[in-house]
Amino acid sequence: MGAALCWRRRHPRFESLSMAQKMQQYVDVERGMPEKRAAPERRQDFNEVYRRFEDRQAVEQSSRCEQCGIPFCQVHCPLQNNIPDWLQLAAEGRLEEAYQTSQATNTFPEICGRICPHDRLCEGSCVLEQSRHDTVTIGAVESYITDTAWDKGWVQPPRPARERDASVGIIGGGPAGLAAADQLRRQGYQVDVYDRHDRMGGLLIYGIPNFKLDKALVERRTKLLADGGVRYHLEFEIGRDATLGDLRNKHDAVLIASGVYKARGIAIPGVGLGGINQAMAYLIASNRKGLGERVAAFDDGTLNAAGKNVVVIGGGDTAMDCARTALRQGAKSVKCLYRRDRANMPGSKTEVANAEEEGIEFVWLSAPAAFLGEETVSAIRVQRIHLGVADASGRQMPQVIGDSGFTIETDMVIKALGFEAEDVPRLFGEAGLGKTSWGTIAIDAASKMTNLDGVFAAGDIIRGASLVVMAIRDGRQAAQGIDRYLGAKAGQSLAMAS
């Protein structure tokens, strides 16, 4: 009876045991990111920091997913992306299905995959992260899936099953506006997008530096929509080229997705000195340069950091974008001044780490007290900050420590202190448009409509400066609201006609 051992090799149960389990590989597979270009290399150019996942890596990293009963990644994703599902599909090499699943809830997955603060959203909530096994690399897989889809030609312009007569005007070609445009176009609506810049994309094209989001990605997205029949109106400023009322007459519904662009100021001595710049102006100039344009304020050196000692004020993602841009422009040194500490900064932890690698110096717990200098700024007087006990909201309040001042030498300051809403009703010539106490536009939570019939709003203009992913969500929800609104309207007119 020598069969004892050979028998085991034959027996189906043993075979099935040896069959590879596809998911839940985190037990054996460690977290991995796509290859990150070395800091010395990447500070030389504006190309993206991360390379794309190799196929094998993407499969392996996706397979780490635990396929939880409650996918906290989805729970904490503003778009409620079905992350475990496309991770499983990716792990099984079913990329086209993965792409379809991913794009079903997200208009720009490859963009979110690059610029979302994953460590605060999906990846930060990932069960594996919570339980100290290191998160699944969700963002990178997300980008990988849709990048592959583009390569393979799976990404197609919206092709509505039927055209509808109703038309929608969208003010603002940023993520919220474009997300809405995409959804509405798929339903067959006639969509016109108005933007005051000379390119579509809003923040995506001009606000975010190329090393985080390659502009080619944004341009192929805007082109895709145009191919699908979305009409663009560039350098079209509401209030200048038309009023909101004009648009309401022209379209059956209007969506305001104009974003917030009014920079927050800082009221300290010396704020009027030369060499002190607004973050957005600085970033736009850099991005336009990158897109091969002539930009006077850059070319004359005003917005070029090359050879300068730069200080960026602020702790958000914009501050970091400015700092890292300055570095790439050839700044002598770049410091980032923030009044709270690392743990309490709003920007993405990953980005802080990347920035530090590249040579940015963070000056925590520091607030500018005065800008010093004759005509242009030459130094900043800085005060040390102590963080007090957390208040009800859980945030620690900064308190200035007396006699703690010190000075930082600088010849270029970039203020990145956040943005506020412009006075849209006045700007758009529609005084009746309702606002919130924050100055943003007020909408009804369920219908997404403003107080004006047929006028909707989405994105930063309703919530203040926020994430791209929030803008996409708002845009998609507003599109649903518009669809319901137009559907109801069509129903009414049908009823009246009969």
Partner: protein, 1514 residues
């Protein structure tokens, strides 16, 4: 003031009626079980001795029945004997008449006692019907009874007991007289029924036999009926029975024996059998009965118990000409697959039987007589004991136990047992005894069955060959159809894909926390409303994996004939191996049938008229009826015509409608009913279709979906055929599993039985389409269903195609079903317990109540007229916390860290944690240095008995018997080898890395009296602990609980279907069991009704999350509350639901050491949770103006329904849950102090006599004589030894107890090292149960002339869960010898079926033949079987073991040493001869080795392996 019998009876009746109408109680769920037996004179000569023996035997059976609190009212007992003609003739002569020659007939009649009018009416009916047939009457005789000895309650319900004596004045032959009496009796019964008189009952009406029975204790039989003491009362047989019922109401007619048989057990297939009997009725015709056939219909009286129904069918068959043994073979056939050595003639017989009729599946031990034959038999599973003794003066004594009739050993010529599917018989006329094979030879020879069964067509081959698939659906058609039935990606990926890839159903974990179908906003297929029924306590489930051979899916198609005759044409049938057909097979079969088949389109135009679904159902019923009346024998119901314009009737509804319509038209048996359904997708849907009456099922869309995925390359290299085969395999296995939960082995008996309970279906809809199925809270009706179907159809065929949604039913997804455990709330709760913040906890609790309705309790709210009370008046939080329990989660599922944390936390607050199955590290029994106690207060005893030792059972305050688990009631479990770490293996006494199986049933509980026995055993081994029995909510759980309470349980735990699990099949998690709200409320109502409530504590668990849940549970009747999943969440669980895959990232449900390091739970967090729950509950109580929990238990008047569910429902009525039962003079809550004590056994005397041992540790030897009523001998003493000296504190043989006679059940249960029990005689079932180191020796007594190896010496289920010790028995053992043995060494001289099943350790040496299915599921240990005949290879189940002749010296020595010990201790001559002739015998031994052990054995078993391993090691 105590309640008088009279008030009790009056109140009980009123109460029961009210509860049945308005509450949750259904008398149909009453169960009964018992002991049964037969004494017969083999020579057929009537003797007084026989009757005497019968009466004596009953006196030895009392422990298998139950006794009321009055100590007098029993559940019933009776005896069936020959009519003593002399006795009655003498009586007639005394009245002045001269009886005519020949046999007179006697009717034993129960008449209404108090209603004299009714009594007179009954007499007149009886007389009229007798006279109408032309017979004359000698007169009535008032049967003398002694009412002194019966209980007050029994007396109040006592009927007037009279006998009517009838002359055979027509001079007809005995058989014909008997037939006429049968017809007369049926006519009388119909007449009385028509007059609405309920107390009337005819025990027997026969010229040959008579039944005496009633509601007294078994030993009081002859005292109550002095007739039986009369010397003239002679008989050649005496059939007797002791009943155990699940209520306390004494119902005289339900005492057994019935007219022909007495039954011990339960008929699992009852629902199907009753339905099919009704369907067969129109075709029944018999020469014997002729036109009288109409008088005997309906065969089964409405409201019959299972035994009564079986008796009725048995009687009919016998009256129509079948001898009793043949009737038994037809009704309860042996399994052909199980018996691999079955002769061809028997196979033909049983093939014929199973094709003619649907078997009545046990568990059943029956003793029956038709006047000429006396038989005793077991069903195919053989789950009831049946032992027999034959004496040298021609007496046969058969019964549930050996030793019931004391026979001097010298007179015994044979001691045997009846095996599964076996039968013994006596032809009383010819005076001959038949063994199993002999009687079957006789029956099989009655007709040319072998020729007949050749007529059966087996189309499997030709439909497979001809199978050609129709063109596939386009991608769009596919997606639209999938959308129409609400399919999601989750269904395809999580459910379908694994079935195709692996051929098995997907496993999931944690409980179901999605809304009941009726409460969901989403579309839920009709199958979601059907909850699978399952067995617990009163009948056992089957192991569909390891005991596959007693099960069959064989499906016959065609025109079923007249079951009363035997003829060749009955085999003109098609026989499929499985009802599951592929598309191609379905079409091939359809084509093959040609003209004999008719296809019925089950789609409808959703826009047609006002009630399109209703009209469509009417149409298909009409079409079906027309077709069958036109001669069609196969109906095909299909929904293939579905398209944009046509929506489908839910096929479950279509099936129920057509099946029901054909049954009502008496046409069902003329046709097969074949269903093609697109919605049918998972195994549950198949089961519902078949349960609703489908013959075959084709899941068309599932197959298309598989083909689509196959085209897309998702199944790798598998061919499409492989894929479809695997899917079918998975469904087949799933169907077997679902049937096995009910203990049903044969699909023909499952079909049409609707073994489900509906939750959320309207009463009207169920009454129309699924009659007989329980639906107690009503719900969605036809119109609601119609609107849902049309809505989904519109969505599916909308212009813009929508992709399939991702799902969310099994795992949370945004936009899918709501889940009770919600991501954000979990974090809030964890935050609350981490920071000890009650404020944050309240946010969690508010969040829970803001969820959409998920559970029934979400539709309830509190009401109270009392003003709130202040917090300082309240019962303390500490007191409330003591009511909380962390329910059983085994170490094995949980990591050791998590398990200990729970125990420590619960002990700190004086509450209880339950250990779960799998033992506990004895190190935990010692107090920790910091004062913590890590020992679980409740120790669980589950079916696997892992780690259940004397020490384990003595280190607790409560012992919990897990009968079922909410997430998978009726199923066993499996701990895969990779989870069996060193620690777990040590606790479970097994080998690391080797799979451990928990069987579906407790192998010592197949019936309620068995549970009583286990409770008895546990109360012996731990004289202080109370005993809890865990049940799962289902319809009828109330009556089961009543039985459990009568079995002396102290706590009953009701689990909801939503209870957690470490691993269960998804369809079980989702579709089995009921919400605890329904179960708890029913249990509380029925216990109160039966005056049992105050003696038993009720506990509840299943998805309890907040203080509100706890208060609602208390108001529905619970005293204690288990919080499982939520307590895991407090320790850091985040509902990953991957417990089954050992990858729990938070280290709670895993054994992986790396993951265990991530565990962050602490006792403090758990304590915080339980404190918050108690505080919140206390707040609610205060707001209701109540100061303590005791005041609200069962107070349903403080609850009200606040929502009736969605608008489209017919109704949703929770009032049945809120009905209150009148408790009589007792409180409606538990007032028991301590525990319900059980009577003493021999140990009481032993303890007195063993003072020297127990006090001073001296070596002792004691001697007693023993009887079968002495149960669990040795357990109590073992407890004392364990407590004093430890389980291994004494040397072996330190304390020897010698016993003479027949030992009762559970001899030596949990006996510990140092104790030796030597029995000179024999023993019953469960010898050495849980043996913990003791030695048990059994040998025939000295005067015996029996050859030990040819006779039976011990019963069934020996050494169940034994962990150490030895057993030597000089004789054969019964079934399931060494089942789940994990350490004992044993030598016996033969054993019954399923030997060494699930064994994980230890050694079994069997020196004689073994029964079928040996070593099924054996994963550890070693067995040796002496088999000179070389038949063992046919008996072994090769799935998990290999067998080989002994090849290595090491193992040869092991065997020899054990046989040597056996010889020394038992003096077995047979064994001595084997040793003596060892050189000759050695090669007749087989060695049986579990495969998983092969690479783990220290000593190889093969010569070759030895070489290989050496090579591998280098």
């Amino acid at each position: 003031m105590p309640e008088t019998g009279e008030t009790f009876v009056r109140n009980w009746r009123a109460n029961a009626r009210r509860l049945a109408q308005k509450g949750l109680y259904d008398p149909a769920h009453e169960h009964q079980s018992c002991g049964v037996g037969l004494v017969a004179a083999i020579d057929g000569r009537a003797r007084r001795e026989v009757v005497d023996a019968g009466i004596k035997a009953l006196q030895r059976l009392w422990h298998r029945g139950a006794v009321d609190a009055d100590g007098k009212t029993g559940d019933g007992a009776g005896i069936h004997v020959q009519v003593p003609q002399d006795f009655f003739k003498a009586h007639i002569r005394r009245t002045g008449h001269e009886p005519s020659r020949g046999s007179l007939a006697v009717g034993m009649v129960f008449l209404p006692k108090t209603d004299l009018g009714a009594q007179e009416k009954c007499r007149s009916i009886v007389e009229t019907e007798i006279l109408r047939f032309g017979y004359t009457i000698y007169g009535w005789r008032q049967v003398p009874v002694n009412v002194e000895i019966i209980g007050e309650k029994a007396n109040v319900t006592r009927p007037e007991i009279e006998q009517i004596m009838i002359a055979n004045n027509l001079g007809v032959g005995g058989d014909q007289f008997q037939t006429h009496l049968y017809i007369i009796r049926r006519r009388i019964e119909q007449q009385v029924l028509a007059k609405n008189i309920s107390e009337f009952y005819i025990c027997s009406l026969s010229c040959r036999t008579i039944v005496y029975k009633g509601m007294f204790l078994a030993e009081q039989l002859s005292a109550f009926y002095p007739d039986l003491l009369d010397e003239r009362f002679v008989s050649n047989f005496a059939l007797y029975h002791q009943r155990y019922s699940t209520n306390t109401f004494p119902t005289w007619r339900l005492a057994q024996p019935f007219r022909m048989l007495a039954h011990n057990g339960e008929i699992n297939t009852l629902a199907g059998n009753v339905n099919w009997t009704a369907s067969h009725e129109p075709r029944m015709a018999s020469e014997v009965l002729g036109e009288y056939i109409d008088d005997v219909r309906p065969i089964i009286q409405p409201g019959s118990s299972d035994s009564e129904a079986l008796d009725a069918m048995f009687e009919l068959l016998v009256r129509c000409g079948r001898p009793a043994p043949a009737a038994e073979a037809l009704l309860i056939p042996e399994s052909i697959n199980q018996n691999t050595t079955m002769p061809e003639a028997h196979k033909a017989l049983f093939t014929y039987c199973t094709n003619v009729m649907e078997p009545w599946d046990g568990p059943a031990a029956i003793c029956a007589t038709d006047g000429r034959w006396a038989i005793a038999g077991l069903d195919r599973n053989g789950l009831r004991p049946l032992r027999y003794t034959i004496t040298n003066n021609d007496l046969l004594i058969v019964g549930s136990e050996t030793g019931m009739v004391e026979v001097p050993e010298a007179e015994v010529v044979e001691k045997g047992r009846v095996g599964p599917g076996g039968m013994i018989a006596i032809d009383l006329l010819e005076g001959r005894f038949y063994h199993d094979k002999e009687i079957k030879d006789l029956i099989a020879g009655r007709q040319p069955y072998g020729e007949w069964v050749k007529n059966i067509t087996r189309p499997d081959s030709f439909i497979k060959n001809k199978a050609k698939s129709s063109p596939p659906l386009t991608a769009e058609q596919l997606r639209r159809r999938q959308t129409a039935f609400g399919l999601t990606m989750e269904d395809l990926e999580l459910i379908l894909h694994p079935m195709v890839e692996m051929g098995v159903e997907t496993t999931g974990s944690m409980g179901d926390d999605t809304p009941l179908a009726v409460l969901s906003d989403n579309y839920r297929g009709l199958h979601h409303f059907f909850r699978q029924a399952f067995s617990q306590v009163t009948n056992p489930p089957i192991d569909s994996l390891r005991e596959r051979r007693v099960m069959t899916l064989r499906t016959r198609l065609g025109n079923l004939g007249n079951i009363l005759v035997e003829e060749a044409s009955q085999c003109n049938l098609l026989l499929l191996e499985s009802p599951v057909l592929s598309n191609a097979e379905f079409e091939a079969m359809r084509n093959h049938m040609g003209e004999t088949a008719c296809e019925i389109d089950c789609t409808f135009d959703p826009s047609s008229d006002s009630q399109p679904l209703r009209s469509a159902l009417d149409r298909i019923c009409r079409e079906a009826e027309d077709a069958v009346r036109g001669g069609v024998t196969h109906l095909f119901l299909t929904d293939m015509a579905m398209c944009k314009e046509r929506a489908t009737i839910p096929m479950i509804l279509a099936t129920g409608a057509v099946h029901g319509h054909l049954v009502r038209q008496s046409l069902r048996t003329f046709t097969s009913l074949n269903i093609r359904s697109a919605e049918c997708f998972d195994v549950h849907y198949f089961a519902v279709l078949i349960g609703a009456g489908a013959t075959t099922v084709n899941a068309n869309l599932a197959e298309e979906s598989i083909a689509d995925r196959h085209r897309r390359g998702l199944f790798g290299k598998m061919t499409l055929k492989d894929c479809l085969d695997n899917y079918k395999t998975a469904i087949d296995k799933g169907l077997l599993k679902i049937m096995s939960k009910m203990g049903i082995g044969v699909i023909s008996s499952y079909r049409g039985g609707c073994n489900f309970e509906a939750v959320g279906l309207s009463r009207a809809l169920v009454a129309e389409f699924f009659p007989g199925m329980a639906t107690r809270i009503s719900g969605i009706g036809l119109s609601g269903m119609e609107s849902k179907v049309i809505e989904m159809h519109a969505k599916a065929y909308a212009e813009e195609a929508t992709p399939l949604p991702v799902g969310g039913f099994y795992r949370f997804r945004s936009g899918g079903e709501a889940h009770g455990h919600q991501g954000r709330l979990i974090h809030i709760l964890q935050n609350a317990v981490n920071t000890e913040s009650y404020t944050i906890y309240k946010r969690y609790s508010e969040g829970i109540s803001d969820l959409p309705p998920i559970y029934l309790r979400d539709l309830l709210d509190f009401k109270s007229a009392n003003p709130p009370v202040s917090a300082d008046e309240m019962e303390s939080i500490t007191a409330i916390r003591k009511r909380l329990v962390s329910p059983a989660i085994s170490l094995g599922a949980l990591s050791p860290e998590a398990h200990e944390t729970l125990s420590i936390a619960m002990n700190r607050i004086g509450a209880k944690s339950a250990s779960g199955e799998g033992g506990e590290d004895p190190a935990r029994y010692k107090r920790r240095a910091n004062g913590d106690n890590a020992s679980s207060a409740i120790k669980q005893v589950a079916s696997g008995r892992f780690g259940v030792t004397a020490e384990y059972l003595n280190n607790c305050h409560e012992i919990e018997i897990k009968m079922a688990q909410g997430a998978k009631p009726g199923e066993g479990g499996q701990l895969p080898g990779r989870k069996v770490t060193e620690l777990i293996a040590a606790l479970r006494m097994s080998t690391p890395g080797v799979t451990l199986i928990s069987p579906p049933p407790h192998h010592d509980i197949y019936s309620i009296e068995d549970l009583a026995q286990l409770i008895y055993d546990l109360k012996q081994i731990n004289p202080d602990a109370s005993v809890c029995v865990k049940l799962v909510a289902r319809a009828g759980v109330g009556t089961i609980a009543a039985g459990v309470a009568k079995a002396k349980a102290d706590v009953i735990l009701i689990s909801g279907h939503d209870g957690g699990t470490g691993a269960s099949p998804q369809s079980s998690i989702k579709y089995a069991g009921l919400p605890w709200e329904m179960g708890l409320s029913e249990v509380h109502q029925v216990l109160t009704l039966n005056r049992l409530r105050h003696n038993v504590k009720l506990r509840v668990d299943g998805g309890l999350k907040t203080g509100r849940d706890i208060v609602i549970a208390a108001m529905l009747g619970a005293e204690e509350f288990g919080i499982g999943t939520t307590s895991l969440i407090a320790m850091g669980c985040i509902m990953v639901r991957q417990c089954h895959s050992n990858t729990c990232p938070v280290g709670i449900c895993t054994q992986n050491p790396d993951l265990r390091e991530k565990f962050t739970g602490t006792p403090e967090k758990v304590v915080n949770l339980f404190t918050f729950l108690a505080e919140e509950a206390s707040e609610i109580l205060a707001s209701l103006g109540v100061t303590s929990f005791d005041e609200i238990i069962g107070r349903t008047d403080l609850l009200m329904q606040v929502s009736r569910g969605a608008a489209h429902l017919d109704d949703l009525d929770l009032n049945p849950l809120l009905v209150k039962s009148d408790p009589g003079p007792f409180p409606a809550r538990c007032t028991l102090e301590g525990r319900n004590e059980v009577p003493d056994t021999l140990d009481a005397r032993m303890i007195d006599d063993a003072k020297h041992l127990l006090d001073a540790g001296e070596k002792m030897q004691l001697t007693y004589s023993v009887r079968n009523t002495h149960r669990a001998v040795g357990a109590r003493v073992s407890s004392l030894i364990t407590r004093r000296y430890g389980m291994k504190g004494l040397d072996p043989d330190h304390f020897t107890i010698r016993l003479r006679g027949s030992a009762g059940q559970s001899l030596g249960a949990f006996a510990v090292q140092g104790m030796t029990l030597e029995v000179h005689g024999d023993a019953n079932d469960y010898v050495g149960k849980g043996l913990s180191g003791g030695i048990i020796v059994l040998r025939p007594p000295l005067p015996s002339a029996l050859e030990s190896y040819k006779n039976v010496i011990i019963g069934n289920t020996v050494l169940y869960g034994a962990t150490a010790g030895k057993l030597f028995a000089a004789g054969q053992a019964g079934d399931r010898f060494c089942v789940r043995n994990s350490g004992a060494q044993a030598v016996v001289e033969g054993c019954g079926s399923n030997g060494c099943e699930y064994m994980t350790n230890g050694v079994a040496v069997i020196l004689g033949p073994v029964g079928a299915n040996f070593a099924a599921g054996m994963t550890g240990g070693m067995a040796f079987v002496h088999d000179p005949e070389n038949v063992f290879p046919l008996k072994v189940n090769p799935d998990s073991v290999i067998h080989l002749r002994i090849e290595t010296q090491y193992w040869e020595d092991v065997v020899k040493v054990l046989i040597g010990q056996h010889v020394r201790r038992t003096h077995s001559r047979f064994a001595y001869r084997l040793l003596n002739d060892w050189e000759l015998e050695r090669d007749s031994f087989w060695q049986v080795v579990p495969m998983e052990m092969l690479d783990k054995l220290e000593h190889p078993v093969t010569r070759e392996d030895k070489e290989n391993w050496r090579a591998a090691g280098e």
